[in-house]
Symmetry: D2
Subunit: 341 residues, 4 copies
């Protein structure tokens, strides 16, 4: 039993992925992404997304994001994203670095979501300034950093705003599987997708999926130039191939989502839940003493102070069990009642 | 008589500055900033600012800003400034470019001014995120983009916040003369100053003044590397020397400020004035028809839509005459009464 | 039996490394390099290199090189390296990109080796120019790109030149194991090492080893910012830990070297061998028809036209067998005699 | 009488240029390059170069070079130039910085000149390496850094090599007037010209002339973003307009060239002249004692050690007089004979 709810990236990896790597270790293969497994991943993604795509396996979602966005903008571009977006909050300026100094301008939005009207206002604001920079990219995140999931209508209206204003659209899909597992799946109009694998049962692989293929050459060169083109690329692609085989990616995501829902249901009404629980994250408000007490008991999860005081984040993943969840819910119930005596 | 109130940079230059250039044209001089006039400018600035400084003449305030800020931060730094700051609004990402991708995060503030508590909050917000970037520079602007002037107390509290949090302080002094002419002059704690000359009667010169001399080497190399180190540097320094001789800079600034005050007084009570008029800018609210009618009559000034609907900016300068101002005020009075008939 | 002699990166990986990954997949671990396995790798490397070091696992040698060199130079630095160095020839300007525009200046040298006097001349040449850039880094490669190995004396004299001129020293050790297996091991004076794992039986891991620990913070931030800090870092470190356990790295390297020597001995006197065979590469001169005939028979190896006309490269690795080598040697003997009938 | 032969940038400026600036100081003008004088310079250059061009006034030739070359290449491009080219030797990596890390690869050539076959070899060398970078720009310098001038045939064959290999062509014309004054004038196939003004009687102005107008937008944005777009642009353009009026540029250049020729003729046979004297520079070989003795007597000129031991450079300019030259020649004759007593 694990008491680790810190992140989906503190977990291990799916057995199918280990097996795939073991198989890939046999024999020799062309290096630098020109191997047969990577070729098959491209075919598989083209089927999955129902259009011809180019694919570039990388080791982190941050790499996928920065390489993707940099390939969509001039150095003087403006990249719009949610105030909590990973590209702004968590990557130490990776987009600014890879793009040669593009400007990331953030837009607030409740529950981790952007709204089309706010995006239009942000574009207008930049354009009125005229010498701020050239609005170039809208970067969306689905599932969001708040654990919510855009509806297809919400996605369409955001992408429509970007298209109407001639911005490229990047989708940070570090947890796209968790979103798609809920039924959201409309990627029409997305230019490049950062397709998460690692957080959902993978090991060390995420995938850049280029829908707008005129952008592929720029991605390809940046991929090599930044040291992200693995020589033994098959070991990344093998993970991704296994991930996309027999719906492993969806099975893992559905499970993680279900564990989060189970936890929400278990604590509902007794603990304040900050955002709708739609993917595999639950943000709750706790007294600090309760958090510390749980920590002393070996339950691991992070504070989420950037979302507000006394807010903490619980994250489930492919290997979280119902027992794990129930144990945490029970421990939480204990402490809360105790404190409220 | 000029009807041009578009900007202090649409005006010509002071006769003293032309004469200085003419004198400098005689004979030969060491190039690339190692000439005697540049050396004298350094001595003069050291006297003026009452500490040993290094100086680097450049052709634009944008160059001064970008070179200065880039020399104060690592590429992963965060630069904090007002939402209307020139470095954010008007320089097409110059700071991001020169710094290797630093992140400019803006802070709103009424009347073009930052407030110490908001700066502290912004720093805390970045630090809580922990992987957004490293808060490195606070860039202030005085006189502000809204034509207001910080009091010494306001400046001190802002600089104190920066110092307490180990941020460097940059002062965009494109209109520092206009601020100092009002009595504000406290530069204690500023690391590098972009000292404006061009807008206040100069021709093609602004000056980087480095107070924290350990930063001078980085400025010097960037100055050369970016093509901003003029070979016939004496022709920039001669402008600056004349500017700082016999208080030309203060006389020009006082005159420009007085012209703005004269205009304010002339229209006060009849036209909405948006910000306190403390330097050489007046922001007013006009019906669009009035603006167009004045334009047809040859009065030149810009809309300032980024500050809100129906807002226009009138700017005075060293060569604006009382007659210029009175004529505009009269024309404005005409139209306003006409429209309100 | 494999007929693949294209590169040590077309091979699979050592079973010990697969086993280590499988073990690492169990349980949960702190992410982003703060896991226990990465901590153990640091301890192991400190023992191995007999000084306290910092370590940063990455996915490619190119990443290790670019992150290391960028952390040793200002953007206006000059990086000196051999004309055939990977950082110059094979990384699409990764060093220039990561450093913010440093200048890579190459120095020719027979057999892939630099000579101390040539390095001194290059430094002098740059310094005399004075505005070319600031000589900042000497990047050495051992084993070299030509398959030769520096003697300790050669290394010492090169490092001594760098030190005397206040340059930092980077060692591209993509094949350091192959060099150390021959007895060369003197790393005194090296600031940062790119320690190769992938090419010598690893899967997707190389290691930045920072000897000059004041450089570690810069490496660490660049590592994160460029998307090279894997969230499930234990899966890289597990590879490296296995690599450094029970001398796997040396056993693999000795084997690869022995296979190259076996091939050299087999063809010696009948085929022109271009460089001394000291590590796991053999450069030979072939008629193009011979190359094509071998290719048709399924033997895979690359032309090496950048080294001269009709030059081809044979590379052995941890999984190359004596039978592989003997078969290629026999096939080569066949064709050569045939052609010379 | 001036004894200053250090550089054409230690001299003052032509009276016509001062007068033009004085005229430009009157009245007001649209700022940031949208003034009428800049518009006239564009028309004048279109006439002069017999095609529609875009023009961007800047303060230095280094800025012109870096902005031009950066606008012709991706960040992973390779820029080829002569080993003595200003962009390589004298600008502290400005091209690398402005381009986002392009690689400058130099080609040797006697007398400061490139040869078409060597350029082809360099391109082939880069392309064979395949991952060095993408050959993108050939940067030529005319008159050369050695004071020689390309013939039209030489220029054509170089440009033809670039075109055939799909490289853009940049011409560093810091001393283009000196070259054209000799009859060389073929600019067909050049994409962007750095057109020198400062060194030939100007004050603080050089001009980017864009022949391939699809490149103009990129130049324009970089010009602003890097702080090179002067707000009172008319003061740069006024210099350039005067320069191009009544053949001032050619008259100045012819005079400077004639002074160099006069000096060459005066010392010919008695002092070793290193390169053909075709423009306004003379490289001579002197004993160090002679140089020091002349220096003590107030004659100023630089050693040119990067060209070889005991080599010194004499430079003439628009204001050098026959008397200046004769005096130096006489002093030199004195010392040489004295030393050889």
């Amino acid at each position: 039993m694990t008491k680790d709810f810190r992140s989906d990236n503190t977990l291990g990896c799916s057995p199918e992925i280990l097996e795939a790597i073991t198989r890939a270790a046999k024999g020799t293969a062309t290096s630098y992404g020109d191997d047969e497994i990577t070729a098959r991943v491209r075919v598989r993604c083209s089927e999955l997304f129902e259009r011809d795509v180019d694919v570039f396996p990388v080791i982190t979602g941050s790499a996928a994001n920065a390489l993707s966005v940099a390939s969509m903008t001039e150095p003087w571009g403006v990249v719009l994203c949610h105030a909590d977006a990973h590209i702004h909050r968590d990557e130490l300026g990776g987009v600014e670095f890879f793009s040669g100094g593009a400007k990331v301008i953030t837009i607030p939005g409740a529950g981790g979501k952007l709204h089309a009207a706010d995006v239009q206002n942000a574009i207008d604001g930049v354009r009125n300034g005229s010498r701020t920079g050239v609005p170039s990219v809208l970067s969306l995140t689905n599932a969001t950093e708040a654990g919510t999931v855009y509806t297809n209508d919400e996605l369409r209206s955001l992408i429509e705003v970007a298209r109407r204003n001639r911005l490229r659209v990047h989708l940070d899909g570090a947890r796209l599987a968790n979103a798609i597992a809920t039924g959201t799946s409309d990627l029409d109009g997305v230019d490049i997708l950062s397709f998460g694998v690692t957080k959902n049962g993978g090991m060390t692989a995420d995938l850049i999926v280029v829908f707008s293929r005129e952008l592929a050459e720029g991605v390809s060169i940046r991929w090599h130039r930044s040291g992200h083109r693995a020589s033994k690329s098959r070991f990344l692609s093998a993970q991704i191939e296994a991930y996309l085989t027999n719906d492993l990616w969806l099975r893992n995501a559905r499970h993680a989502n279900a564990m989060a829902a189970r936890f929400r249901d278990a604590i509902s009404g007794r603990v304040e839940i900050v955002y709708p629980v739609e993917a595999n994250m639950i943000f709750i408000r706790l007294e600090k003493g309760v958090y510390e007490s749980l920590t002393r008991d070996g339950f691991l999860f992070f504070d989420a102070a950037i979302y507000g005081p006394d807010i903490y984040r619980i994250m489930t993943g492919f290997s979280t069990t119902p027992e794990d969840v129930d144990e945490l819910a029970a421990a939480l119930e204990d402490r809360q009642s105790c404190l409220s005596c």
